[in-house]
C-alpha cells in the first residue's frame, strides 16, 4: 500500500486567479522521509494542506484531481476523520499549542480526549510519545516555559499521540536555534525509523539533504522534480527555481567534484569529504 498517492492535483484558493497547485502527481511509499523544497509561493504549504484535507475542506476553492492518504480519499473524508491517518505540524509551535492546558502532559492528552480515547490507552500513548521525543522530564512543565525546540517537539508529540501513519511538517525548524533544529530533525528521523511516513517542507537545504530519502521540488504550483537529494540538488537549473543547493553541493559544482559512479554531486559534508579526500591528499 502506498502511504500517499497524489494524481493530477489542481487547486485554486477562493477569489484568486492563479492555480496554487497545477497538475501535481507523485506517490510516497510507507515509511519514506520526503522533503519538499521550493521558493516562496511555490505551493509547498498548499500541498501540505491538501494532504491533510484543509484543502479543500477548510479553504474551499476549486479542486481537481485526487489525493489518497493511507488508503483514504481526502475529498470524500472529513478533516477530523483524516486526522487519524495524517497529522500536521505547523511552522510556529505557538500557533499549534492549545494554551488551554497547563502542563506538557495535558497538552498531549488534549488531542486524544477530542478523539474520545479510553483513559488507559491515553496514559500509555502519552508516556510513549513523551519518551520518544525526550520530553518526559518536562511533563509537568507549562508548555510556554519550554524552549523553542522543546515546544516544537511537544507539537510533534501531540500529533504522534494520535498515531497517524503519516506526518506532515511545514517548516518546523524555521524559528529554532541550531540545537533546537537538530533536536527536531533527530526526533523526526526516529519516527521515520518506526515506519511513520514523513513529509517535511524545509528551507535548510543542508539538513534536508542529510535526512530525507527523496525530495520534491515545487515551483509555481508545479512539481518540477521528485528524486533523491543527490538527483534533485545536482540539477544544473536548480537556481532558476529560486533554490540554492546545500553549500557542499555549491562548492562541488564549482570544483567539478562528482561521484563518478552516479555522475551526481555530493549533498552532505560526509559525502563531500569522502570524494575530496580521494583526490589531493592521497599521495
Amino acid at each position: 500500500m502506498k502511504a500517499v498517492v497524489v494524481e493530477n492535483l489542481k487547486y485554486r484558493y477562493p477569489s484568486t486567479e492563479r492555480l496554487a497547485l497545477s497538475g501535481v502527481s507523485f506517490e510516497v511509499e510507507q515509511g519514506e522521509f520526503i522533503g519538499i523544497i521550493g521558493k516562496n509561493l511555490a505551493g509547498k504549504s498548499t500541498l501540505c494542506e491538501a494532504l491533510v484535507g484543509l484543502v479543500p475542506h477548510f479553504y474551499k476553492g476549486a479542486y481537481g484531481g485526487r489525493v489518497v492518504v493511507d488508503d483514504v480519499e481526502v475529498l470524500s473524508s472529513s478533516v477530523s476523520e483524516l486526522a487519524r491517518h495524517i497529522g500536521i505540524v505547523f511552522q510556529n509551535p505557538f500557533t499549534q499549542i492549545t494554551a488551554a492546558k497547563l502542563t506538557v502532559y495535558e497538552e498531549v492528552a488534549f488531542g486524544l480526549e477530542n478523539l474520545g480515547f479510553q483513559r488507559e490507552e491515553m496514559v500509555k500513548r502519552i508516556d510513549y510519545v513523551l519518551k520518544l521525543l525526550g520530553l518526559y522530564a518536562y511533563k509537568d512543565r507549562n508548555p510556554f516555559e519550554l524552549s523553542g525546540g522543546q515546544m516544537q517537539r511537544l507539537a510533534i508529540a501531540s500529533i504522534i499521540a494520535m498515531k497517524p501513519s503519516i506526518i506532515v511538517l511545514d517548516e518546523p525548524t524555521s524559528q529554532l536555534d541550531p540545537l533546537g533544529s537538530e533536536e527536531v530533525f533527530k526526533a523526526v528521523q526516529s519516527l521515520s525509523k518506526e515506519g511513520i511516513t514523513i513529509i517535511m517542507v524545509e528551507q535548510k537545504m543542508e539538513k534536508i539533504a542529510q535526512y530525507a530519502d527523496k525530495i520534491i521540488l515545487m515551483h509555481e504550483g508545479h512539481l518540477v522534480d521528485f528524486g533523491t537529494p543527490e538527483e534533485v540538488f545536482s540539477r544544473p537549473d536548480l537556481e532558476s527555481y529560486g533554490v540554492e543547493p546545500p553549500v557542499f553541493t555549491s562548492i562541488a559544482k564549482k570544483l567539478g567534484i562528482k561521484d563518478n559512479n552516479t555522475g551526481l554531486y555530493p549533498v552532505t559534508l560526509e559525502q563531500m569529504r569522502r570524494l575530496m579526500i580521494g583526490e589531493p591528499h592521497r599521495s
Partner: protein, 274 residues
C-alpha cells in the same frame, strides 16, 4: 567616542533571574552578528540598545547618550530595529504608508518622507508593490517591507532580528546585499541570527552570548575558529568552516568563494609537487 558603548551591563526581568550578566563591548560602523542559543539574552540585549529596556546595573551609551537618560522615541533617529516577525511591526494597510511612517514620525516633511520611503523600497526591490496592502504580500516580502520601513529613516544603526527566517534563496540574497550596501554607506549593522553561514558570509565581527554572558567577541574568522568554545554554547561553525576543517586546512574559510579558491590552489600545489 564609540557609536555604541555597553559598559558592564546586567539585566533581569525578574529579580534573581539574570538574563544578562556584566556584558561589556563597544561598536562602531561595520557589521556585527550577535549569536547564541535561544534564551542566551540576544533579544534582551537588542531591546536594551534600543532603550526599550534599561540596564539594572551598568550603562549603555548610544552616540554618547546614556539610554537611561533618553527614550526609545528619541533614539529612533539613531537606532532602527527590524523585528523578527514582520507581523509584529507592520500596521498600516498600504506598503508606502508603512514605509513612510518612520520618517514622518521623526519629523520629516511629507515630501522628504515619501522620497526616503521610495528609496528604501527600491533597495528592497518592492517599489512596484507600494500601493498594495502589506498583508496581501508573502511573508518574505512583508519582511522586506519591515526592513524598508527602518531603512527609510536612514538611522546610523540598523538592527536586524533574525532577518533570514522564512526567506528563500532570493530573499536571502537580497538581505545579504542590503547588509553590504549599508556597511558601505558607513552604517553599523547588527544582526541576531541562528544562520551561521549567513554570518560567515556577511558579518565582519561576531559576538557570542551564552547564558547572559559575553563568551566571545572578535573578527568572524577568529570566533569561528574556536570550535570548542562554540560547542559549549551549543553553536557550530558555518558549514563551509566545518568543511575546510575536514580537508586539513589550518585556518577557517567562511564562504563558498573562499573555499573554492583555497581548494583550487591546493590542487595546483599538489600537482606541481607530484
Amino acid at each position: 567616542m564609540n557609536l555604541i558603548e555597553v559598559d558592564n551591563v546586567s539585566f533581569a526581568y525578574t529579580e534573581g533571574v539574570p538574563v544578562l550578566k556584566n556584558v561589556t563591548f563597544s561598536l562602531n560602523n561595520g557589521s556585527v552578528a550577535i549569536i547564541g542559543q535561544n534564551g542566551s539574552g540576544k533579544t534582551t540585549l537588542v531591546k536594551l540598545l534600543k532603550a526599550l529596556l534599561k540596564p539594572i546595573s551598568g550603562d549603555i551609551f548610544i552616540n554618547g547618550i546614556n539610554t537611561k537618560e533618553t527614550t526609545a522615541a528619541k533614539l529612533a533617529r539613531t537606532v532602527g530595529l527590524v523585528f523578527q516577525n514582520p507581523n509584529d511591526q507592520i500596521f498600516k494597510n498600504k506598503v508606502l504608508d508603512e514605509v513612510m511612517f518612520g520618517p514622518l514620525n521623526i519629523g520629516q516633511s511629507m515630501e522628504e518622507a515619501r522620497e526616503n520611503a521610495i528609496k528604501a523600497l527600491e533597495t528592497v526591490s518592492l517599489v512596484d508593490k507600494k500601493e498594495e496592502n502589506p498583508y496581501d504580500l508573502s511573508l518574505s516580502e512583508r519582511k522586506l517591507v519591515s526592513i524598508a520601513s527602518i531603512l527609510s529613516m536612514d538611522t546610523d544603526i540598523v538592527i536586524l532580528d533574525e532577518p533570514t527566517i522564512a526567506q528563500d534563496y532570493l530573499g536571502k540574497a537580497k538581505i545579504r546585499s542590503i547588509v553590504h550596501e549599508l556597511v558601505q554607506r558607513g552604517k553599523l549593522v547588527i544582526t541576531i541570527t541562528h544562520d551561521m553561514d549567513f554570518v560567515g558570509e556577511c558579518f565582519q565581527r561576531v559576538i557570542v552570548l551564552s547564558e547572559g554572558q559575553l563568551l566571545l567577541d572578535g573578527p568572524a574568522r577568529e570566533v569561528f575558529s574556536k570550535e570548542d568554545v562554540l560547542r559549549s554554547a551549543n553553536l557550530e561553525p558555518p558549514y563551509v568552516a566545518q568543511l575546510s576543517k575536514t580537508t586539513g586546512y589550518q585556518g577557517v574559510l567562511l564562504s563558498v568563494e573562499e573555499f573554492v579558491a583555497y581548494y583550487r590552489s591546493a590542487m595546483e600545489d599538489w600537482e606541481r609537487r607530484s
